[in-house]
Symmetry: D3
């Protein structure tokens, strides 16, 4: 389950995530598998500009450039955390409820096999079935939610309870999140009204707006989240629009004033030590991207997430970089 070499990869012509083995419908998984990457080509929950269904193809293609040694953590990520490309989870693009069923089942199966799912959306509505499956497998989760938006909307605005602005509301209401363990990072921009933050506030969500992260640094915010999460199972749901449109133009509901790519990567890296049980990376919209820069960033964010899994297999070693 190591990465292919560059020439091996090139010879195959296919584009599995990170040049990893491709194990579609992966059951049983190769023994020792600790992470399974799954594409979810679904954008039926989008309120503004759709297109995220195409993201898995583009993130896969550019992820080939990501090598396996993490020079800050000083670990060979894919040796510590053997991973596979599990293919896509599919269903007709018109039936969100079937997407939720299928994805929840797939994620549950991955968790049952002792591995962490890494879900590449698709729009943010794919997060709910992941949260459901993992909370059932691991108990209520600490959720790290990186996003420009709160995503705790109700059905009022669009007459639909499950669109891409709602997954965190459901997660809170369904008890998938451990009390006080919703950590929302990257929020910014105007709200619809003063009550937008209420769903989270009621459940004790901790807000770390983009402004705060920019003022205190991504590492400080990450440390606070990490310490708050303790040894709980952690789910990381990363909406690429948390990052500024300059770094991630390929997304459907861009909000200026966001994180830099360096801050975003440092944020995930700074979670080192948490018990990550799954991650999603959502809202990459290739039709709006330029020179694949959003897809490249998505691949690197996923790699940082995979490194978190790899780190839990052993001790945290000293960093080789000076910071």
């Amino acid at each position: 389950m190591a990465q292919q070499s560059a020439l091996e990869y090139l010879s195959h012509g296919q584009t599995p995530f990170f040049r990893l083995p491709w194990v579609p419908m992966a059951r049983p998984l190769p023994s020792g598998t600790r992470a399974v990457l799954l594409g979810v080509p679904f954008d039926g929950g989008t309120t503004y500009q759709p297109g995220a269904r195409l993201a898995p193809y583009h993130v896969r293609r550019v992820s080939a450039l990501v090598q396996g040694w993490h020079p800050v953590h000083r670990i060979p990520v894919f040796e510590r955390a053997p991973a596979v490309d599990g293919g896509n989870v599919v269903f007709p693009p018109f039936h969100p409820e079937r997407m939720r069923e299928r994805l929840e089942a797939e994620v549950a199966a991955v968790a049952a096999a002792g591995a962490a799912p890494f879900v590449v959306g698709g729009d943010h509505s794919v997060a709910l079935p992941c949260l459901r499956a993992l909370a059932r497998a691991h108990g209520p989760l600490a959720v790290v939610h990186v996003d420009a938006h709160l995503d705790t909307s109700g059905p009022e605005a669009w007459g639909e309870p499950f669109h891409h602005g709602t997954p965190l509301r459901h997660a809170l209401e369904e008890g998938l999140v451990a009390p006080g363990q919703l950590h929302q990072v990257g929020l910014r921009g105007p709200w619809g009204g003063p009550g937008d933050g209420d769903p989270g506030a009621v459940h004790g969500a901790r807000l770390h707006p983009a402004d705060e992260l920019q003022a205190r640094g991504a590492a400080a915010v990450a440390r606070e989240v990490r310490e708050a999460a303790g040894d709980r199972p952690v789910y990381l749901t990363f909406d690429v629009d948390a990052v500024d449109p300059a770094f991630a133009p390929g997304t459907g509901t861009p909000v200026p004033g966001g994180l830099t790519s360096a801050e975003a990567l440092r944020l995930v890296r700074g979670l080192a030590g948490v018990r990550l049980v799954g991650m999603d990376l959502v809202e990459v919209c290739p039709a709006l991207d330029h020179a694949d820069i959003t897809s490249h960033l998505a691949a690197h964010l996923l790699f940082e997430g995979l490194a978190l899994v790899a780190l839990r297999g052993g001790g945290l070693s000293a960093r080789c970089y000076s910071s």
Copy 2:
């Protein structure tokens, strides 16, 4: 209901179709209105690349460049056929059945007011409610279907009976099309199987593949369609992917080998004399467009359709151009 002058238009800052009066939720319509342009920002029926929901904004914006005198037909289109921008037909983007209900009701209302609806999609699934409303208002229709695809798919491939590849099948099965009066123009590219053409063939559809149009000329095909339609009420459903991706890159399921923009315009112009009761222009996907060229083409195709309505108010005059 004349067009605003350039400076009037500029001063408004808004972008109604063709610089026409904006009459949202237009009931009752200004007396004498013969055409109502409606945007339908819906792409929930898309199988591949979504984004057509944004088309009404961009087609509106660029349609300001289209002036009102038709130099081939030698008529002032908007004087002969007073028209308004009726705004958009809306509904939550997640509920296709509500789109169909709302759009059918709006189109029925326009028809009841004696005007022709010009629907700017949105994906091709918006055609079915238009056909339903107009067939109820006018009786079975002659349908001119310009498209790279047959759009007579059944629910097999995607487990969904109403996606954007199905409207013509429903129209045929629901008896909305007069016998032998489905005219399909622009078809090309591989099929899923030999039976793809059966739904149309059973109902006597006449195929005019892109190859045929290119060989015989758009005018000849148009003439044949016009003569076959006679004085029946005609509905024109124009999928912009009938045109080659070079001329219409902004579309979700492009097929090379299509019509040129000149052929497409000549095709619609060549229908002069038919009794047009409505038109849709669908599948413009702005996120995939370049320099708005697909939106410009869409605006001109709509103008040619409006001219068909205008022509029926009076006799057909000689052309001023040499062809």
Copy 3:
């Protein structure tokens, strides 16, 4: 004068700024109007890449995504400061002098009605008539000039006294700026010669180059400006090229090394408390933009400016975000 809801907005199909009521040639303004957004489709003062005349259409379109509650200031912006879309100020694009006359008259009328004009350019030459009208209405102004360039050029280089690199020179020379109250933020890049800064220096302009802002933080610079301005009437002229081309590629004379979008937004937000009597947002060039990111940023910057007006209607409340 509240914003339309999302579905109301969608149904209209038109794109007024921020989903606000559209009151073209707005006289008399609705009672209670405190801000009027005006598009100025003029780029006849451009020295390098033109195209800013198209900005009003694109900024309008994307501004629909901006909601009305400001979560840092904790105010409903459009309830505190009722605003309308006043349409465009127009004139033939070839006659700068007529643009200046018309725009000055419109801005004067808005000011006379007790409202603040928010002018969406167009190139930076539109600032001068705004400054003239507002200085006449309110007396000499404190001017916050955010820009990569000094814009105090004389007629030497281009043989033209009123191009887009000159408005601040005229404003100083015409006494429109209160002594010592020109605050120039974001400056960077090479100059033509050591004397480029003289026009400002003579009048006591305070320079806050991009370097300084990046070192001290946007909030610190804003605070200094705010305190220096005191209770004087403040005019904010924001050239989007103050922001780095990564965040604002859609501009005609880009200079690398600029502000981030977060810094730019924080800068305007940090002016909370000043008596803002008008603002312009200029030099957005859509033809050079990608995925509308420059237009999105422009809309958010305007929203921060509108919030400044809203804040003066009542006390400044505590911030809900942690910074």
Copy 4:
């Protein structure tokens, strides 16, 4: 005055038109010079999307790919018609009247030296000073006007008599065109009113709309124009928007339904035998182009024009291609 070889050209790093010698402000021209290419970076006459001022840089850059042997005419173009890059004609971009004066003077000087000017705009308003200078030098001209528009507007719409939609009206009214010798090719799209064609009609202009050209073929139209022109001095004014936006997306007022690039090239090639005394190629707008395809087309159209000059130096030889 031959072209540099590829490696010579590469080593220079500069980008003169067609790898020709660069002779700025070329007076006196090298003996034997028969054509002078001049860039005119002016777009101050544009009514919609500006940007054509940047065209000379991009057309120069890509023209390096054009070699010198014309395989249809079977002549070495630059040996038969020695040519130079005369640099740009400049003036402040704000003063159309100075542009007209300077350009007229430059063109007159080129003509006085016995060479033909090839002017690379810039917008179409650059044509008038060229026509003035050449009509003075050679007497009333046969004008071949290739364009999607009539360009005979008066000052009504924009309050300006010299914008880019007016040069042919002035040419006719000033007697620069020989009676019956305005040949307008490529026209299409709606007009403002039935009288739009009157200015030309009064002067006996011959219209060859795009429709006609597509029906009869470019060669037939070219032959008719050539025969009508006889041995009169011919000026070719080529607005790239005559070509369809698919082939020439980089232009400010695109009109679908235009010529293909093959038709455009064949049209110019088909003029072989006329006495060409000058040419302009206008309205290339690089900011709207993609992959330089509009600039590449412009370079090839200019080459076909240069070949017309070259052909008059000797007899027309047989074609090597089969058509």
Copy 5:
């Protein structure tokens, strides 16, 4: 070796050509395989804009939209001609000679297995090793060379005998082409000198310039080529720059005036009946493409080539389309 269904394909997440089985380094091939698609990510022979090495990834991705039934030939292409995706042929991108060796060996192996190689470049220098292997396997070939350029250059201009402008020269000189059996279609644009056509002329190459094809029609040219080829083994080498840049902007040395996509597809389709022993499709440069339109066209051209193989397995049935 049938295509996967849409949902099967989606679930895999990988992108084999045409949803075919992926059989990398395919030896031994599945019994009955009649065509093997090979990617060749090499652009080290490019003289102007490189980037074709990325083409195999993008052509694979978009080829999933191509279905298997050919409605003109009325055959199920992949049932008649079972095909596989053989992965890429690889080698370090710096060593053209190793590319030539490896590719020649792979193609020879495919031919030895009784299948036809379909090579997706890569620049045009990949054609030579294919020709070498196939001429050794089948004897001297009839070569159909579709291209804007002659590709018979010698080493003079670039000091290199094997760049992408030379493969046909080598093929002729090495006797890989049967006498009089080089058919060059699509040629246009200026030459370096009158002798450019000599290498082909000496060997009896038949030129069908773009002009001729446009005048006579692609079907007529195809028929002539087909009849001339008779029952000889035919190799089709298709440089996508034969097609006009409007239809194929994603290519490194674009030449305006080229084929339409419809003409290009009709040309290949019109070869029905020839004994096709291999094909390459080269010079697709994704970095210069827009909305994947060049890659879509490439996929359809390959499909038409595969259909030629399929047709030889049985009789030619009547066409279902009218032309």
Copy 6:
């Protein structure tokens, strides 16, 4: 050797770097020349996305916007350090060894003339011949290497010792770098293995990863480098991918998490006082750029490098900006 004025520049139509005199194959150089800009259109060392060979044309074109007075250093750069555009260094694009020979010779000649070469790549493999020539001229160098990558790869991965990921390895092994004087700034992203840093470590290279620069500030890192370099001859090799893809999308191997443009400019500016003997700016890939923003950044980085040369001609004066 001063810059041309804007109008002079415009009139020439050519695009020498920074509007400087163009002195191709500049031998002997104008007396007093202290810097020579050389384009190197070579990308034959690229492992992923090629295209950097086109950079010199685009960087030249946009560098015209850069004026000559440096307002931080308070010097007229081109008066203090007279500079010329030396054209391109050329060779067939297929022969890296000839590129290395020719470029080494040119750089040696520039150095022999007492000037500093400023080389605009091309890919990073152009750095080695520069380092060779300058180390021979000046002795072992202090090398400031700004890059996302280590560029000390060996021949293993690609079977080629001189590709664009190897120049620093050769420089170290050939003794071109003074002991302990390789300063690598901007590094980030995963490595192939723990030994990737070994080649540098063995030679005492000092790593300043992007993370460190972001934490400490570019000025602090620059100061450290400057002090370490002391009065040694310094070579600055700047790979534009050191900067984040948001600021520099036009590059072939992008890595998210990089420097901002402001940090990059401040880094070079902060080297004020070093004895710069040459610089290269590499890996700008125009086909992947948007709105020329990468080229604009490259031009400004070069200008900061030229200012370093200018500063050594006299004392460092106080800065005029506040930071």
